[in-house]
């Protein structure tokens, strides 16, 4: 099992969700976050007063998938979230030791 953590542009969330659902993957956890990478921030001007905003709104999406499906999932996320512009985000993959479905007690791949 792997945990895929994807940081994406907020308006791409629905496309990425659809792409993952099409693969047969069920469930995800989404958080509204702020951050920056190479895109850095931007400048806002209110009545002539300029403020540098370094943290931009992003979506952090977390999804745990069976190891066999990781590559397909990564490809789907990349395809759906890409605009080609700076600031498209990043995907991190990390190992998961154990999973339990609370309602039934099923474990690991059966719990996904």
């Amino acid at each position: 099992m792997k945990l895929i953590t994807a940081i994406i542009k907020p308006f791409k969330l629905e496309e990425v969700r659809t792409a993952l659902t099409d693969l047969g993957l069920q469930g995800m956890t989404v958080t509204e976050v702020k951050g920056y990478g190479r895109q850095k921030g931007h400048t806002e001007i209110y009545r002539g007063a300029e403020y540098a905003v370094s943290f931009l709104p992003k979506i952090k999406m977390e999804i745990v998938v069976p190891s066999a499906q990781v590559d397909k999932a990564l490809e789907a996320i990349q395809r759906a979230a890409k605009t080609g512009q700076i600031g498209d985000g990043k995907i991190f993959v990390s190992p998961i030791e154990h999973t339990v479905r609370i309602r039934t007690g099923e474990a690991d791949d059966n719990a996904l």
């Binding site: 806002e44 001007i45 209110y46 009545r47 002539g48 007063a49 403020y51 540098a52 905003v53």
Partner: protein, 444 residues
């Protein structure tokens, strides 16, 4: 004052002479004829003034409260709503107790009446159900004027947000109403010396806007800048609130300007027309100026421009025609944009939400241009464009007198407060935010 009177008399000499000749005839004839009947209640006028009172109250709560509330940081939103609300309540009570009488009643002493009204309406004594003010009940007139007295100190809040002690604010608003607002209101609208010298102020360019704007400048200078000014991000909490607030101000302003005709008549209709035109023009002027300078037309910019236009057309609204309104709007949009951005940056004061930049500058632009664009056929007084050059110095005189008293009195009130209870919250409270530090609540 006398000099101004002379200049004015000389310039309008011919017109005045003609007027005297005309009024003299009925005066002689009066020996035989019965005196003119006293004014009777007009239900149309009364209905419109009841409506206007509600519209102008809506300008302060929730209009101004939201306009300002949306512009501060999240940690101070509730404190701004609270400051606006408490000012509404304080002014209402003090207006009833003494301020209405001081502003609008005639002082039995002629000399003092030039500066301050009488005390015969303390606690509204003698104001009955059937007491009339012109063609409307005096109770309606008193309430209508109360809403002007509410919004004027409330406007000052924009310059002191994020850092003023609540206790000091409560005392300041109360004292300022009686020491600054009531006399200046009496000078212009209560039969005081500015009214007698012919200053034109239809709905409160001097009384409300220059008055609040100058007090705001004094207050922000006395308080000092917000902690973190120019180093921290002080971007507005929620401009949706600000746009709702600006829109409520715009709508409510028809009660303010058209209501200042104190009648449902052609004067009110024309005041409404020029208000709408000047506001739209000023909003566009600010938007285009900002677009040109900063590359983007902003939402805060167009909303601020609309308020600037409303301010500037206020003194002019019963006196100018729609073409004059267009010019006044354009001048206010660009003038207030420059003062709220360039001038503020240049001078370095932290007039946080631009009370001086929009209300004092917009008020001055409007008060002076009233003297230029006044049309005799509309408000009974001609301006510079119709050959009455004397009106402009009279307007400048009104502006100067207002600024002088406002500046000195506001400074003294705040100085006394600063030396006694203090006017600024602790730095820790300021950093934590006034919502939690002063009121024990948070917005989200």
């Amino acid at each position: 004052m006398k000099l101004n009177g002379l200049i004015r008399t000389a310039a309008t000499g011919a017109a005045t002479a003609a007027l005297y000749a005309w009024t003299a005839l009925p005066a002689f004839a009066q020996d035989a004829a019965p005196a003119a009947p006293p004014p009777k209640l007009d239900s149309g006028d009364t209905a419109w003034m009841l409506t206007s009172m509600a519209l102008v109250l809506m300008m302060t709560i929730p209009g101004l409260a939201l306009f300002y509330g949306g512009m501060v940081r999240k940690k101070n939103v509730l404190s701004v709503l609270m400051q606006t609300f408490v000012t509404t309540c304080l002014v209402t009570v003090l207006w009833m107790i003494v301020a209405y009488s001081l502003a609008f009643r005639t002082n039995p002493d002629d000399f003092y009446n030039a500066y301050i009204g009488g005390l015969d309406r303390v606690l509204l004594a003698g104001m009955g159900k059937d007491t009339l003010q012109g063609t409307i009940p005096e109770s309606v007139f008193m309430c209508f004027q109360m809403t002007f007295a509410i919004i004027t100190p409330a406007l000052i809040i924009g310059s002191i947000v994020d850092r003023m002690k609540f206790s000091a604010l409560v005392i300041f608003m109360s004292v300022w109403l009686i020491v600054v607002y009531a006399p200046i209101c009496h000078w212009v609208w209560g039969g005081g010396f500015l009214a007698k010298s012919g200053v034109l102020d239809f709905a409160g360019g001097t009384v409300v806007h220059i008055n609040a704007g100058i007090a705001g400048l004094v207050a922000c200078l006395m308080l000092g800048r917000r902690t973190g000014y120019k180093t921290e991000n002080m971007a507005p909490f929620n401009l949706v609130l600000t746009v709702i607030g600006a829109s409520l101000l715009w709508v409510g302003w028809f009660g303010f300007n058209a209501g200042s005709a104190v009648a449902a008549n052609g004067s009110a209709g024309m005041a409404m027309t020029v208000t709408q035109i000047a506001t739209a023009m000023a909003a566009l002027a600010w938007m285009f100026a900002e677009w040109l300078v900063h590359g983007k037309p902003s939402v805060l910019g167009i909303a601020s421009g609309a308020v600037a236009g409303l301010v500037a057309i206020t003194p002019a609204s019963g006196f100018v025609d729609p073409k004059g309104a267009l010019v006044i709007g354009a001048a206010a949009g660009v003038g207030c944009y420059i003062s709220a951005t360039g001038l503020k940056k240049l001078l370095g004061y932290d007039d946080s939400l631009d009370v001086f930049g929009v209300h004092a500058i917009g008020g001055i632009i409007g008060a002076l241009l009233t003297g230029v664009f006044a049309v005799q056929a509309i408000g009974g007084t001609a301006g510079v464009l119709e050959g009455n050059f004397a009106q402009l110095p009279i307007q400048a005189y009104g502006v100067t007198a207002t600024i002088a008293w406002d500046l000195v009195a506001t400074f003294v009130i705040l100085l006394i407060l600063k030396l006694t209870i203090g006017i600024r919250v602790s730095e820790a409270a300021e950093i934590e935010g006034l919502d939690l530090a002063l009121h024990g609540e948070t917005v989200l």
